[in-house]
Symmetry: C2
Subunit: 430 residues, 2 copies
């Protein structure tokens, strides 16, 4: 938006652009239309198709036309509660579940309702801070360090919260793991250490565990196990179920945060009303799980782990530093060690880094700055998802799950991300 004529826009929305993850997707499409060969490591969309059982359920419910209850179809709320019970060993009551058109929308409504400071460890997912800006909310960024695996250090959190005239103000702390943008995750011990601080300050914890089912060894641990009274657990169909475009997210509230759920439901009833009915019926099948979906997940995890490791190995030799992904489908390399050479090429910010990379190699990634890192830090996020997920799943099915994928698998079935990483490594080194 670039309005010179007088317009009547709220200052809080002036100058915001479309969300960078979506914008990069649209920019890649434009470049491709112009005939440029683009290596899309930008948008973080699951490469896999929606499990066929779930698609079948959508077909069978295509005629559903009634407005559903604001908080969600009762069977779906129960299925989500059961899902968290089954996969996270959490006692989430069905009455504590809220269904929304994407967890992004739910996070926005949470910010509409919650009156307090939002504490966001960085690097973080791209939308938390712009949402706060749109609503005029305060955000406290909590930078993490490469050396800590980009994870929240409990002492640093405590220091930030206590170094205030009003340490006990209402606060919402956002956690996200397996993490976008870096694929790292927390151990039980690390979570317990964070919870100790959260409890000391009575924080509300928004735990964005939408990639939980894409923990590569299937060992995701929800922080809700250690802080049940203060955790809002966020999930949805977009990542583990491959249904980003369907738009269905879930929040699970503990009874003690029922006041937030009630307020959000009231605002939901004045905004999105309810999630699309056919989609909700289909989601019941997804959250109920079962052998077919479990197998789908096991194959997806094995493929993503193999590909992530290959991408990591490809980048590692180039001089940048990067952590191994333990879940999701991202790497977050830091080109800091190559700063001198990059500066000599005129590259001093993550934006310049990504623009030049795209121009000179056709590799599209996102700069660390959109994940709320300092603009002079030479980080970037790459998503290794631009391959034919259906074909990769079918190929993976021919190797028993207790065996590793053949060495040639990634090269043959996920050539796009690998080629992108090679180009990035060569370009960075060079």
């Amino acid at each position: 938006m670039n309005a010179r004529e007088p317009v009547s826009l709220d200052l809080r929305v002036r100058g915001i652009g479309e969300s960078p993850t979506l914008a990069i997707n649209q920019r890649c499409a434009e470049l491709r239309r112009k005939g440029v060969r683009v290596h899309r490591l930008g948008l973080g969309q699951s490469p896999f198709p929606v499990p066929s059982l779930v698609v079948e359920t959508l077909r069978a419910n295509a005629h559903r036309k009634d407005y559903l209850p604001v908080r969600g179809l009762p069977e779906l709320r129960e299925a989500v509660a059961d899902f968290h019970h089954r996969t996270d060993r959490l006692d989430v009551p069905a009455e504590g579940v809220l269904i929304g058109p994407g967890s992004k929308e739910l996070m926005f409504l949470l910010q509409v309702c919650f009156y307090g400071e939002i504490v966001v460890p960085t690097p973080c997912w791209v939308s938390y801070v712009p949402q706060a800006r749109i609503l005029g909310r305060e955000v406290r960024r909590l930078p993490t360090r490469f050396e800590d695996g980009w994870k929240v250090a409990p002492e640093a959190l405590d220091r930030v919260l206590s170094a205030e005239h009003d340490p006990y103000r209402p606060r919402l702390l956002v956690l996200n793991y397996p993490a976008n943008p870096h694929g790292g995750t927390y151990s039980s011990t690390e979570l317990e250490d964070i919870v100790r601080v959260a409890r000391r300050y009575s924080l509300v914890l928004l735990s964005d565990e939408i990639y939980g089912q894409l923990h590569y060894s299937g060992n995701h641990v929800s922080v809700g196990r250690f802080y049940p009274e203060g955790t809002i657990l966020s999930s949805g169909l977009s990542k583990w179920c491959g249904a980003g475009g369907w738009r269905l997210g879930t929040f699970a509230f503990p009874p003690r945060l029922g006041w937030l759920l009630d307020a959000m439901a009231a605002v939901a009833s004045e905004t999105y009303t309810a999630v699309s009915a056919p989609i909700q019926y289909a989601a019941v099948t997804a959250f109920r799980g079962g052998a077919e979906i479990e197998r789908y997940l096991c194959h997806a995890r094995r493929i993503l782990r193999a590909l992530g490791d290959r991408c990591l190995a490809t980048l590692a030799g180039s001089g940048m530093r990067v952590h191994r992904a333990e879940g999701a489908f991202y790497l977050f390399p830091d080109l800091g060690p190559l700063a001198e050479g990059l500066a000599a090429r005129g590259i001093r910010t993550s934006e310049a880094l990504c623009e030049r990379l795209l121009d000179e190699t056709g590799v599209a990634v996102l700069p660390g700055s959109v994940f709320e890192r300092r603009t002079d830090e030479l980080t970037l996020r790459l998503a290794f998802v631009d391959f034919d997920g259906a074909r990769a799943l079918a190929a993976s099915e021919t190797t028993p799950l207790d065996q590793p994928l053949p060495d040639s698998f990634v090269e043959q079935l996920c050539p796009g991300p690998l080629e992108g990483c090679r180009r990035l490594a060569d370009w960075a080194a060079g």
Copy 2:
């Protein structure tokens, strides 16, 4: 929500309940579970199934899983532009179309972005004012009169706008016709008179024409024909296509309001992201129209007109005053002429009216107060939609469209609303 313990809620959302139209639906469901016979004249949901051609398209696109562009699937934006061209004779460019998860959500985002006063003629749809409240926006209510058919009187509008120290402040005027809650609509001449005032004050006009295709004689005229430069045209699948539960709404902007479209798309990218992909593909079929959908609409209109007229006739003898519906599926009776008798029964507000009516007759309607009328005005909205729409359509198909429906049609096929009106009339009379 009734939080006595200390909670950290924004004051603007404290105390708001779920939207009354949805709440009445849930209350009816509860009463029915208790075995109470409820006559549901509360929720305004289309009684008709989604046209089978459209349901088929959803089935065929159940596998679509990609995130779609924020503003909407290009084919759908084109289909919506073509729809307005075809049905409203408007030159809306496809680039001016924005797809959202319901027009309610789009109106909310419009209020997030637009910085100015919102002028809402009353009685009005239930969500405009609560949305403004949630966002801390100013709303100027413009009460209309029964004698004017609940329509905006241009002189009254002019008087309100000019009686200010700052008559030219940025303002958004909301029009809605065929109207929820009263079924009335505007003629071309009336629209031209309103546009004259709108142009004088450079108002932005949000014209909610979601019932346009349910104008009983198919002669809906969009105000965009007279005020193309300043009109945002709102529509969607919920009413004419019977797909309320699918959640798909549309806004069409003129090029001069591109700055608002851009800002809303940016906010959309940080909130709902895009509308559910399978639903958008299905909506293309709906907006493209064709003979089957046209026939569906003709039958729907004929049924609604016959039923609306019978309901009107049933109420008319009871002493209340009520206008004939010309579109949509609502009547908005005013029981003012019966005020004395009602007061003798302890009924002095529209809320008391509706509560007592539900308790004593099982008829569920909504009080005029939720449509922003004074609480001591004895108005109520009834929706005449609680019948088997599929069966009614099938029966209507046996009578050629150039003939009237048989006298017995409404009695046999839409007994619920008729019985509700009889009970209301008997109860009101005495």
